[in-house]
């Protein structure tokens, strides 16, 4: 289980290779990558701010919750902060389990919790100025699908 919060980019291939290196018990490895999506050519970039002391705790708590719910063999969360350009990778999650159902569900759970419970904030810069991204109702709804943490 690993959590990294960093400004540097990451390589999904090497991360997944490292996660399963030397193991023969993993049957399913799921990964998700979040990218900076351009707004029809209008986006210059985003700035991701976070609350370092809380980020580490929140991500560790979310990951522990996922491990309590599904039989995960390994998991990884990488989240970047700072200035990012359109098309760049923002974050990734990876989950490994014996079977795919647990790996898929845990990856989705991690994403839904990260979106609304990890202290990151995005600011978009376009030609017309800077604007803080609003939380989406869809993200709150996605979180509500999961029963509250025990």
């Amino acid at each position: 289980m690993a959590i990294r919060v960093q400004t540097a980019d990451f390589d999904i291939g090497s991360e997944l290779a490292a996660l399963r290196a030397g193991r023969r018990d993993i049957g399913a490895l799921v990964s998700f990558t979040g990218l900076v999506r351009d707004l029809g050519g209008a986006l210059r970039g985003i700035e991701l701010e976070h609350y370092p002391a809380m980020t580490a705790r929140a991500l560790a708590g979310i990951e522990a919750e996922a491990r309590g719910r599904w039989p995960l063999q390994a998991s990884l969360v990488i989240h970047r902060f700072g200035q990012l350009a359109p098309g760049e990778q923002i974050m990734m999650v990876a989950t490994a389990a014996e079977h795919r159902a647990a790996a898929f569900a845990a990856a989705e759970f991690l994403m839904d919790y990260l979106k609304s419970r990890a202290p990151f904030w995005k600011k978009e810069t376009t030609a017309t100025g800077e604007v803080w991204v609003d939380a989406r109702a869809a993200d709150a709804a996605a979180l509500a699908r999961w029963a509250p943490p025990s």
Binding site: G34, L48, E49, H50, Y51, A53, M54, R57, A58, H79, I90, M91, M111, L114, K115, S116, R117, A118, P119, F120, W121, K122, K123, W132, V133, D134, A135, D139
Partner: protein
Amino acid sequence: MTLDVLYFAWLRERIGLPSEAVETEAATVADLVAELSAREERYALAFADMAAVRVAVDQELRDLATPLAGAREVAFFPPMTGG
């Protein structure tokens, strides 16, 4: 008591500070918000709509009714938009 009070995203911009030490006897988060809002207009503006503000006490998400006894750090920020 002295609290470290932190502000993030547009709260940081509106208040004009990332953090400050606040000497207070506020019993709850709501009391602290009222105290800060009474200080200067920039605080009152930042805290005008508390439905748009989230709070963490000692790095755990809490609400306005949370007592501050024993707390060391209070952070105010908008709903999170990571991922």
